[in-house]
């Protein structure tokens, strides 16, 4: 499986992501700089976590308007899988590739801990390696993880089975406990938790691994 990890000024989880993908797929992802206008031909594009542009204006707002995002939108339209984790999720929302917005955590504090997630759908390239309803562990590390959307969009997400993960014990105030959502065509996944940080025994668990293995089986 060929993949690319997109790096913005202020990204800081790209190395974890590259390491996880290389370990699981056996192929080292290409790293693509934010100012590039084109992407290599890949099966998976990942926007990693971090603090692109220092979270200036709004988390992900400035990165979402960069040249590379137009290329990502084009590839997503063609059906290429796009995964946005943490700041990557914020960027995908700001770019309009996923609905809604990530606001300041309801408790106003940065949250860095492990949480439990429930896998809500297995109907996607990202989640078919899990069992529906399975509870997995995953680290979170964010200040703006409070997912918000209008009632109409929320209903669509629910009706179209596009909520990929929900928190078991909501840490940040997200509406309907949402931790991750899929795009309409189900080839874009945005999630606040970090599955790339739980992929080998030394991480303390393997619960993030099936996500990457699912993609590999695509």
């Amino acid at each position: 499986m060929k993949s690319a990890v997109v790096v913005f000024p202020g990204s800081n989880r790209e190395r974890d992501m590259v390491a996880a993908i290389e370990k699981i797929t056996g192929h080292r992802p290409a790293t693509v700089w934010h100012g590039d206008h084109d992407l290599p031909k890949v099966d998976l594009i990942v926007i990693p976590g971090g603090f692109s542009y220092g979270d200036y204006l709004r988390s992900g707002a400035i990165a979402a308007r960069e040249p590379i995002m137009a290329a990502i939108a084009r590839e997503a339209e063609r059906g290429v899988a796009v995964l946005g984790v943490c700041n990557g999720f914020q960027i995908l929302c700001e770019a309009g590739l996923l609905p809604g917005v990530l606001m300041r955590n309801a408790g106003l504090k940065f949250i860095c801990k492990e949480v439990d997630l429930r896998v809500e759908t297995t109907d996607s390239r990202f989640t078919r390696g899990y069992a529906k309803g399975e509870v997995i562990r995953s680290p979170v590390a964010h200040g703006d993880g409070n997912y918000r959307t209008d009632d109409e969009t929320l209903k669509r997400l629910q009706d179209e089975d596009r909520i990929a993960f929900r928190y078991v014990g909501n840490p940040n105030g997200s509406v309907d406990d949402i931790a991750g959502i899929l795009s309409e065509k189900r080839n874009i996944l945005g999630m606040m938790p970090h599955p790339e940080n739980l992929i080998e025994p030394l991480n303390g668990g393997l619960d993030g691994r099936p996500l990457f293995e699912s993609l590999l089986a695509a």
């Binding site: 707002a61 955590n105 918000r148």
Partner: protein, 80 residues
């Protein structure tokens, strides 16, 4: 020409920062506060001398970048 773009949260959108400020003002002894909503102000200098044209351009800037219209409203004023 100087312009000001004010970005505010839409009604009904939860504003935990505003709530915290509201609490802090109360703790300082300021009584009678209904509510506090935090927003952003952008002071922008534009080269244009055509106010109507500048306003249209600034509206586009606000819609495209300065505000996230999922949760925020914006207002553009030409200051001078």
């Amino acid at each position: 020409m100087k312009a000001r773009v004010t970005v505010t949260l839409k009604n009904g959108v939860l504003d935990p920062q505003g709530k915290a400020i509201e609490g802090a003002l109360g703790a300082l002894g300021f009584a009678g506060i209904g509510s506090v909503r935090q927003g952003k102000v952008f002071d922008i200098e534009v080269e244009s001398t055509d106010a109507a044209k500048a306003k249209t351009e600034l509206e586009a800037m606000a819609a495209k970048l300065l505000a996230n219209t999922v949760i925020e409203n914006y207002r553009v004023e030409i200051v001078d």
